[in-house]
């Protein structure tokens, strides 16, 4: 799966790209287990075809899209994004997909739609982790409509020029590079437009630790650890590589800062 170089501002960092090996074996995808090696070991059971995504809620054109419809909806682009996990590590990954806004424009949100909810597959026959009660299933994430419409918000089908490996959220996932990684839902089956802020899985599980916004922010600590620095996976020097300073909005402040103008980001963490 290839994509043309993206023209979206901020979409092509020139930092060293994380190895495919690391990006596809060190994953958080609790539907396959909570250990980071679990998804790569166990996601082989996920059947990614046939696959449909239902788009519903406060829109003029509710529809269920087949994966092939989604793949053809907009031209594929390659975007090299930083990925910052809330746990304090980061990667640089070349994703293949297009701006989520292309899909949103097609379904025509109504004036009352303020939020977008992203719902992940929760099929216990394919996902052994569903049996545990780590989180509330299905995994739900959400964005404000203007965040979802931002050109950097990406509907993603591939990485490293290939179709997404199952453990990275095949066949279709979200990538929102200025937010902690858990905001970017994997293996999406439903997208719903709502007036009220959706209840998201991590927020339900630990509201004082994971806010709805969860923008990357070095000044707002997680209650159990600092977010000021991060460890870049696969960095030269291995064990002895220095941690990097975490950047506001993961370095995408010039592009997305205005979305939060006037907001107290310590309150809306």
């Amino acid at each position: 799966l290839s994509g043309a170089r993206s023209g979206v501002a901020g979409a092509s960092t020139v930092e060293a790209i994380t190895s495919y090996q690391h990006a596809s074996t060190y994953n958080n995808f609790y539907e396959f287990g909570t250990d980071k090696a679990d998804p790569a070991r166990r996601a082989g059971t996920l059947k990614t075809r046939p696959w449909t995504v239902a788009v519903e809620g406060l829109i003029n054109k509710p529809q269920t899209l087949d994966l092939d419809d989604l793949l053809k909806l907009s031209p594929m682009e390659e975007r090299i994004y930083r990925l910052r996990c809330v746990e304090g590590w980061s990667m640089v990954i070349p994703w293949v997909g297009y701006s989520l806004s292309a899909l949103i424009k097609q379904v025509q949100p109504q004036g009352s739609a303020k939020y977008v909810e992203f719902i992940t597959l929760a099929d216990p026959t394919m996902m052994p982790g569903i049996r545990s009660n780590v989180l509330q299933w299905p995994y739900v994430e959400g964005l404000r409509l203007d965040e979802a419409m931002h050109p950097l918000s990406m509907l993603t089908f591939g990485m490293y020029g290939e179709v997404l490996p199952n453990q990275n959220g095949a066949p279709v996932r979200l990538v929102v590079p200025w937010k902690y990684g858990f905001k970017s839902g994997k293996s999406l089956v439903k997208i719903r437009f709502t007036e009220k802020q959706p209840s998201t899985s991590w927020n339900l599980s630990a509201p004082q630790e994971y806010g709805f916004y969860s923008n990357v922010n070095p000044d707002v600590s997680h209650p159990r650890w600092s977010q000021a620095t991060e460890r870049r996976i696969g960095e030269e020097g291995g064990l002895l590589a220095k941690r990097r300073k975490t950047l506001m909005f993961n370095g995408y402040e010039p592009q997305v800062g205005q979305l939060y103008a006037g907001m107290d980001l310590k309150k809306h963490y």
């Binding site: 780590v134 600092s226 996976i233």
Partner: protein, 223 residues
């Protein structure tokens, strides 16, 4: 006459003889060093996966817990299996707990905190789970520092025994530390295993002391 049920190689006599032999301590010592050697080899050869610092810190924590289980197993196993000579190894096992816990703390201060001591102090004060881990290590340090024969004699058996009972506090603190660490992922399966083992080892001691306590009437007046 030999008891048929017990394999000859595990008969108390054979094991006891070996435990008294001069090769026993060096061999068990070498065995205790193996995890550390393996981890250092893996680190040097980049075999610790995508996040080597995390893998190293967590493995060292796991080994601290495992040696804690081993040291608390010494007395019950001595009693059950009839290997009194196992007591000779208890101090070494305890020092291995301290050794792996120290490496665990060192790896955290080095690779997570990069020896920025202000950040370490902030982190210890801010995160109860780190604080609990540090408290366990301080207790281990106090036991390691009083593990020499000369210190034991200077302290007197009574006080020494009292101090070294804090190994039970270490067990509780270590499990709490592990529990809090895993609470982020609501993943308590491994924590439960360690908690169950340590609780039953502690429970066995409580049960034994209860069984041994003579009735008040039979008690001798204390010195």
């Amino acid at each position: 006459m030999k008891t048929a049920a017990r394999p000859a190689s595990l008969s108390p006599k054979w094991v006891n003889q070996w435990l008294m032999h001069w090769t026993a301590k060096p061999l068990l010592f070498a065995g205790g060093c193996l995890p550390a050697i393996w981890l250092i080899w893996s680190a040097v050869n980049d075999q610790l996966g995508a996040n080597p610092a995390e893998a190293l810190i967590r493995s060292l924590g796991d080994w601290s817990l495992r040696f804690l289980v081993i040291v608390l197993l010494v007395t019950p196993v001595r009693t059950w299996a009839g290997w009194p000579a196992l007591a000779r190894m208890r101090r070494m096992a305890g020092l291995f707990v301290f050794f792996y816990a120290s490496l665990h703390l060192l790896a955290y201060a080095w690779f997570d905190m990069e020896f920025v001591w202000g950040a370490v102090v902030d982190d210890v004060l801010k995160r109860p789970f780190i604080l609990v881990g540090v408290m366990a290590w301080v207790l281990l340090l106090s036991m390691a520092a009083t593990s020499f024969d000369r210190v034991i004699r200077a302290m007197g058996a009574q006080r020494w025994r009292w101090l070294h009972r804090s190994v039970y506090a270490v067990a509780a603190l270590a499990v709490l530390h592990f529990f809090w660490m895993r609470s982020g992922k609501n993943d308590f399966a491994e924590v439960a295993v360690y908690a169950a083992i340590l609780t039953s080892l502690l429970g066995w001691r409580v049960w034994r002391s209860f069984m041994r306590t003579p009735s008040p009437a039979a008690k001798r007046p204390s010195r």
